[in-house]
Amino acid sequence: MKRKITDILEDMDKLDEIEITDELVDILKDHFKEEIGNNDHGEDEQVAKGINDLIIGNRGKTDNGQQDRV
């Protein structure tokens, strides 16, 4: 049976939520076990700000109505 466009878009939206699962945490801890513990764990404020911006996403201004392409 044919689905409505709006229903398909809703299903697409549901795929967006990304969670770092315990399984992935364990895999990566094991993967990097030799490195983890030997390194410092400093914070970079400038980059942290950039990361927040990246998650929020860019919403700049238009350029003659022309869309950016992939």
């Binding site: 770092i20 992935l24 895999i27 990361i51 911006d53 990246l54 860019n58 109505g65 992939v70």
Partner: protein
């Protein structure tokens, strides 16, 4: 007669007794999907209203567009997954410092791209104001895949440093992709296949609309060369010209421009507020 029509005008002509067939480009599908896109809301409202006012809607696109969309989605999910890893790593160490530093490096590169885009847009606005153009009604939001998500080369650089020091089997990156990306990409492909028919003679629904089944690649080259438009858009116009489907839905000026030159029998549907601007640009063509 101009072969362009705005959303509002198209909706006024919609009829509950008639089916609507629309050819869409990658930008439309990305805009529909991505809530960061400035056209996300207007496109969803348009299709929702069209769904209510017409008997049925069928969307058509090309297989090239499918590849473009899935490539966009790969970059989006990998970017967001990598950033989630970075954030998680702040509270619980799960990455090597080499990976952490590489992510920071790529975020800086992304920030520089964003700054350049903002600068470019500010310069464009200044130029318009210098010509006494009223910029108060310009759209204030823009979306760029490159500004928001890591580029392919940046993802590759992060992938390269994912190698563990003592790892016999290279599983860190592969398991990350398996958990974060693989299932989502398959699901998204399935949803996309539900959303659109692909314009090939192998697709039963599309075949009904082909007036000439002998599609020649050289004709896309001709269209590309006529106005210098992107090849992917030229392929959309080429397929459109081989079918009886009359309407092409796009947010991309290049397709409006190229459609005017290379597909004058088709009607390009685009946001109503951009029609006037396009009309001015196309006046002398």
């Amino acid at each position: 007669m101009a072969n362009r029509i705005g959303f509002k005008e198209f909706l006024k002509k919609a009829d509950s007794n008639n089916d609507v067939q629309l050819i869409v480009d990658a930008n439309v599908i990305i805009a529909l999907k991505d809530n960061k896109h400035r056209d996300n809301k207007s496109l969803r409202e348009f299709l929702s209203a069209l769904q209510e006012t017409s008997k049925d809607i069928d969307l058509f696109t090309t297989v090239t567009t499918k590849a473009e969309f899935l490539e966009y989605y790969r970059r989006k999910i990998l970017t967001e997954g990598i950033l989630k890893l970075y954030i998680k790593n702040k509270s619980e160490k799960i990455l090597s410092d080499k990976v952490k530093l590489e992510i920071e490096k790529q975020v800086r590169a992304r920030n520089q791209r964003q700054n350049r885009e903002v600068q470019k847009q500010q310069n464009s606005e200044k130029a318009l104001e210098a010509q006494s153009f009223d910029t108060t009604e310009l759209d204030v939001e823009e979306f760029s895949v490159d500004a928001n998500y890591f580029k392919d080369s940046e993802i590759k650089d992060i992938k390269k440093v994912f190698r563990g020091r003592e790892v016999q089997n290279e599983m860190g990156w592969v398991r990350f992709c398996e958990i974060i990306l693989l299932g989502r990409l398959h699901q998204m492909e399935k949803h996309l296949d539900d959303l659109c028919h692909y314009l090939t003679t192998r697709d039963k629904e599309s075949l009904k609309y082909f007036k000439d089944e002998d599609v020649k690649w050289q004709m896309a080259t001709q269209i590309c060369g006529e106005s210098g438009m992107g090849y992917s858009d030229a392929m959309i116009l080429n397929m459109a010209n081989h079918t009886t489907i009359k309407h092409i839905l796009t947010m991309d000026f290049d397709l409006v421009y190229g459609g005017h030159i290379s597909a004058p029998d088709k009607v390009i549907i685009t946001p109503s507020d951009r029609i006037k601007g396009y009309k001015n640009i196309l006046k002398g063509v």
